[in-house]
Symmetry: C2
Subunit: 129 residues, 2 copies
Amino acid sequence: MVEDLAIAEVAEKFQVTTRTIRYYEEIGLVHPHRENGHRRFSRKDITRLSLVFRGKKYGFQLEEIKNMIQLIDLDPSGVQQLEKTMEYGRRKMREIDRRLVELEQLKTEMNSWLQKFEEELVKRKGEPL
Amino acid sequence: MVEDLAIAEVAEKFQVTTRTIRYYEEIGLVHPHRENGHRRFSRKDITRLSLVFRGKKYGFQLEEIKNMIQLIDLDPSGVQQLEKTMEYGRRKMREIDRRLVELEQLKTEMNSWLQKFEEELVKRKGEPL
DNA sequence: GTTGAACTTAACGTTAACGTAAATGGTATA
DNA sequence: TATACCATTTACGTTAACGTTAAGTTCAAC
């Protein structure tokens, strides 16, 4: 396909090096096909990579991301499989919730530091040398 | 001081190995004093370590944490120093805000996946084999 | 058809944050 | 004081996620 992308274009698109993309293939995150030995990335491949990079941004490890992606790939043929899939999803959700709470705590804490510093600053500016 | 803690106690307290604590001293995150060559951790040391572990929980790197801790240590003697300190603090805050936004996006996204799966599940359960 | 950029695989190097092992010394208790 | 346990430093090992050659192949342009 002429609309498929070469590795350099993919790297450019996601603002990473080609090495990163090759590595992602190495560990099975994408499976671009070859044309005369050169990798070509279809629209589907690009979508997968988007998911990978989004996952990374959220601080998940590649191995985790691999699992999550497989969930999406899965056309879960049975109800049982589907329920396992959902259970995993729910666990992830809880994890995200925990992270959110912790980050909010950190924010509060840093805010109070900043305020203390601010007060210090005002005090000192008011004082003569 | 008799109320100071030995390394094993500190490790126990924070649920890590003694190696971790020694490492943190190695890279300058704490400076316990010695008694007959053995490390002893004062209350201040413990407080510092608390900050370190909290930082870790929030996903910061030790090097970052080192910087942040130094901000707290600093009794910023001049207004200039104080302003630099605050500027750093504000940058950190913005970073945290960004992380919060991203995490919330992820949450939304995962929620919609989960819902899709849920619908699938209901549909299949309604159908006969 | 030759050059030069972009591609390939293979393999070794790097950083963070510890794990683990060896050799040695201090401490508590019977 | 002998035993057992805890501590010390030194130093090499480990994992993740790439970086960095090296040596060769293919494409695009002239």
